[in-house]
């Protein structure tokens, strides 16, 4: 696959919560090894849109999506496609750090692989080390791998969750406001980490922090009330947006 072939494409995505039309006709392509930020005022549907990219939106009763999400030449919104297999390729990190309860740091990282049936101990150990290293957490926890994951600090927990997501070897990592529950130092670490993740993964991140979007992303999409107002390179969106609404939002005059 060449650098310029999109790894993920959405065509005319519409999402409803019962009667409420949350996302309206959104089409965006995502290039491999890029970071795309989705920004917009609260309630604009950015999380909803992100969650439909690995069909985790189905967890909300009454939610349904139409349109196409093309991954690997396949429309993953097709009811015949098994969401379980999709999610192995498109992982997700959530807003609140959520290590699994009563599981050690070690188990938290490998639980995905373990429950997928990988039993080889040496392989699991190796995965734990590489994933914790990729999540920039290894040095901090390598001596306390048997402690419960919940004993770590918030920022460490979130990096543990990132390591856990990476362990099942996804191609795309979705992040739903991954730093909104963290302090600035932990946020900084995660932002730094994302620049490294970009080398191997495609990252799509929802953030309500515009500066964060500007700092870390290559592309930015701006949503308002379920509409895509503008999508472009972050340097264009943040220095010279084409739409008045975008201009107003990023200058803090609206939203």
């Amino acid at each position: 696959m060449s650098e310029n072939t999109p790894i993920l494409t959405t065509n005319n995505i519409n999402i409803w919560y019962d009667q409420f039309h949350a996302i309206k006709n959104i089409s965006i392509s995502y290039l491999p090894n890029s970071i795309t930020a989705i920004i917009g005022p609260s309630g604009c549907g950015k999380s909803t849109y992100l969650r439909c990219l690995n069909r985790i939106h189905e967890e909300v009763p009454g939610a349904r999506a139409t349109g196409e999400v093309i991954y690997n030449g396949q429309n993953i919104l097709d009811p015949n496609v098994d969401p379980v297999l999709i999610r192995r390729n498109i992982g997700m990190v959530f807003q609140k750090p959520n290590p699994f309860p009563a599981m050690s740091i070690f188990d938290n990282v490998i639980i995905g692989l373990k429950l997928q049936g990988v039993k080889q101990k040496s392989k699991l150990k190796e995965v734990v080390e590489t994933c914790l290293k990729k999540a920039a957490l290894w040095d901090e926890v390598k001596d306390i791998l048997q402690r419960p994951g919940t004993s770590l600090s918030g920022g460490q927990q979130q990096r543990l969750c990132i390591a856990r997501t990476l362990a099942v070897n996804p191609k795309i990592v979705l992040m739903d406001e991954p730093t909104s529950a963290l302090d600035p130092i932990a946020t900084g670490k995660i932002e730094e980490l994302m620049q490294d993740l970009k080398k191997e993964y495609t990252v799509i991140i929802v953030t309500h922090n515009m500066q964060q979007a500007a700092r870390i992303s290559d592309y930015t999409s701006f949503f308002v009330l379920g509409d895509l107002i503008e999508h472009g390179t972050s340097s264009q969106i943040f220095t010279n947006p084409k739409e008045q609404k975008t201009e107003d939002y990023i200058s803090g005059r609206f939203g």
């Binding site: 985790i56 009763p61 999709i86 999610r87 992982g91 959520n98 309860p101 009563a102 419960p148």
Partner: protein
């Protein structure tokens, strides 16, 4: 008096009320334990635990058969109710929307509210009548009906406390739902679930009414599932209403043992929770 002083006085008055009500609640519990200790501890000795009752008129003897019977029937009841209750609780917590779960929830709520004597009668008609005789099995079934709704609701409440994003995190790892529920949600909260179970068991251990019509009680040691079986609450009841002074003394001792048993289970369940919290804080 200025405004500030009035406010302060009101505040003190309110706090005093809170302490008073706390004292009113604590007092009966402490009094029950102290009273039982005073009345029962003196008759408590190794004989009480190791011996069977002596014939009427002779002093001495113990309640070994009743203690074992209580454990036996509570164990039997738990064996029936706990696995079923946990599974139902999981069902309610994870798939709790729709007609069937709502019916189940209402049923278990009603079952909690059913007087224990009614449960006794129910077990009587269900098992004692067809089998033509009081039996430990009937006692166990009656106790299981006491345990079941408590286990269901406590399991459901505990699992509902787990935020949805933890389930979603499991699903986002590309795991099927049943694996997420079993390996992540339930396994991660076993200590909490067991706390609920232990509370339910301790509740059942003290029940008299359901056993009156079912296990009935006897004066000898029995391990038979189909024969009548003694239990502490029934034994206490029988001894307490008897005219013999020695039996009344033993009833006090039995009551003391029973309350220690129930209290002990409660404390154990609390310790499990606390230990887990301690563990997590580290």
């Amino acid at each position: 008096m200025n405004y500030y002083k009035v406010q302060k006085l009101k505040s003190h008055l309110f706090i005093a009320c809170l302490y008073c009500s706390a004292a009113f609640v604590l007092a009966p519990l402490i009094m029950v334990i102290v009273f039982l200790f005073y009345k029962g501890a003196s008759s408590l000795n190794l004989d009480f635990f190791m011996n069977l009752p002596k014939p009427v008129g002779e002093t001495g003897g113990g309640m070994k058969h009743a203690i074992i019977g209580t454990f036996y029937m509570v164990g039997l009841g738990s064996l029936i109710a706990v696995p079923l209750g946990i599974v139902c609780g999981i069902f309610l917590a994870e798939y709790g929307k729709g007609k069937i779960p709502n019916c189940l929830r209402m049923a278990s709520d009603l079952l909690t509210g059913v007087p224990s004597i009614v449960i006794g009668i129910f077990a009587y008609t269900l098992i004692v009548v067809p089998l033509k005789g009081f039996s430990a099995l009937a006692g166990g079934v009656a106790l299981s009906l006491i345990i079941l709704p408590i286990v269901i609701r406590s399991t459901e409440e505990i699992l509902k406390l787990i935020p949805g994003h933890i389930r979603e995190a499991g699903l986002a790892l590309g795991l099927p739902r049943w694996k997420v529920i079993y390996f992540i949600i339930v396994k991660g909260n076993l200590p909490n679930i067991f706390t609920g179970v232990i509370l339910a068991i301790s509740r059942a251990a003290g029940e008299t009414a359901p056993l009156l019509f079912t296990a009935f009680g006897n004066m000898y040691l029995s391990y038979s599932l189909t024969g009548p079986m003694a239990s502490l609450p029934v034994q206490i009841y029988n001894y307490a209403i008897s005219p013999f002074e020695d039996w009344q003394r033993q009833a006090w001792a039995g009551a003391f043992v029973l309350i220690i048993l129930v209290l002990g289970l409660n404390i154990v369940s609390r310790l499990i929770v606390n230990r887990k919290q301690l563990f997590n804080k580290k």
